[in-house]
């Protein structure tokens, strides 16, 4: 299978372990994610999927290391883009999509107004995720899918080395879902971003993922989607309702 990776850029999570209280939540996780590669992380509830992302974000203490290599050379400063599962702003929040994007791309205080130049820039950024039409909406007026696309646009500016998507599709209708996968795949190819996506949607993500990683405290299985889907460990870990999972069509390339 052809990969889009330039083979020179890679982010490595090495021997990552997290202990919360006395409980080992994650044990010796190793992940290598290449640029322009999407790894989908699946696993049952309580498998430590979100903890893994929080460790990578530096929000929980962990043992192990995170490294990045660009064109063979080690770099310490990994720029991360993050799309959270949910936001907890009030529904009547006066923050508009333009406000949020403008605050992301410029230092000018948005409470004093957003000038035309910054608005243009925000429109361009939002157009990349097909959300330009949302510019003047308030955050509370967006659907689940629309909000995720806006957050994705913000996470992609400036272009990160590693994009983390935390169950981004939890509140989406089918139409929003396919649009979201389509956009993520496009951004991955056009900007050579390495992507880790935590999801419950095994069936939906399989055709879009370059690799699947089955997580349950440690890495249970890892590989190309068609390989992992045939792995008996998948059914053992996620449950017998997935008995016909290996029939998911995978679009190669």
């Amino acid at each position: 299978m052809e990969t889009n990776s330039c083979k020179h850029c890679c982010i490595k999570v090495e021997g990552l372990s997290v202990t919360l209280g006395r409980r080992a939540v994650l044990d010796n996780i190793n992940i290598h994610v290449n640029c322009a590669e999407l790894i989908a992380i699946v696993g049952p509830n309580g498998a430590g999927k979100t903890t893994l992302l929080r460790a990578i974000l530096g929000e929980v203490p962990y043992r192990g290391a995170m490294r990045m290599q660009i064109e063979g050379r080690a770099r310490k400063d990994i720029r991360i883009g993050y799309v959270p599962q949910k936001c907890v702003f009030d529904i009547d929040s006066p923050v508009s999509v333009l406000d949020l994007v403008a605050a992301g791309v410029s230092k000018q205080p948005v409470w004093l107004g957003v000038n035309g130049r910054i608005q243009k820039k925000a429109e361009i950024i939002l157009d990349k995720v097909e959300a330009g039409y949302l510019l003047k909406r308030r955050l509370g007026e967006l659907s689940g899918g629309e909000l995720q696309r806006v957050l994705l646009a913000i996470a992609m500016w400036p272009v990160p080395n590693l994009l983390l998507l935390d169950e981004p599709i939890a509140n989406m209708d089918p139409k929003g879902l396919s649009l979201f996968y389509e956009i993520v795949t496009r951004l991955k190819k056009s900007h050579d971003v390495a992507i880790l996506m935590v999801t419950h949607d095994l069936v939906g993500v399989a055709p879009h993922a370059d690799r699947l990683l089955l997580l349950n405290r440690s890495v249970i299985a890892e590989g190309k989607p068609e390989e992992v889907l045939k792995d008996k460990a998948l059914i053992r870990t996620l449950g017998p309702h997935l008995w016909n999972i290996s029939k998911i069509p995978i679009n190669e390339g």
């Binding site: 936001c87 702003f89 009547d92 929040s93 006066p94 992301g104 948005v110 004093l112 957003v114 957050l151």
Partner: protein, 267 residues
Amino acid sequence: MLGEWFNYDFMRNAFLAVCLATPLFALLGIMVINNRMAFFADVLGHSSLTGIALGVLIGLGDPFWAMVAFAVLVACAINFFKGATHATSDTVLGVFLSVSVALGIMVLSRGGGFSKFTSYLIGDILTVTRTQIITLGLILCVSVAYLMTAGNGLMFLSVNPSVARVRRVPVAYLETTFTILLALVVAFSIRLVGILIINALLVLPAAAARIVSRNFFMYAVMAVVISLTSGIAGLILSYYWGTSAGATIVLCTALWYGVLALTNRKR
């Protein structure tokens, strides 16, 4: 033309103070509401009671710095307890509110002398001095300058702290500095508007502005307009009605809120 109230020095001073204080409260208030800190700000305000008590115990003539110091201490303690226990922040805030009020009353009421301090509960903007007006102006300038640099970060923080952090918004710095600024402003204004209603001046203009605002700029402008017009109207009405200026101002703001809420019910 301006009416007889403007002939008095104390009313002119109060007018100036209102014109400086209300935009200040409105601008801090929009951040307080957006970051869901309304109850937190209320606890800061009420903690000044203990601050005053501490000032009295130490023997300070002016308890201002004791109020600021205690408010900052309370803020740090709240953040610590939020992390240390699994109680929701509401509960932690409620505990701190009751403790700081009770402690303040206990110390101030020793030997039955609490009535000396009731002026702190209600406040009196008519007693404002020239020096206080100048200080208020300075605080307004500092706050606007602060929000010019911190406003975007605070807004990001209100949407999602993790996203803010990953975008290198200095989250801990912003939370601390904003709390200290809030404590300073509240402690300074206590003598003018009083502990009981100071939070209303922070919360109401922003709450009313939210009803009609479609973006952050409109939110800020509306909050300042609502706060300033209510401030001036409330001050003048309080002169003719012989009522407390602070309370009258709050009711004018509440009127704005009521009218806007009733005329925009569909949203």
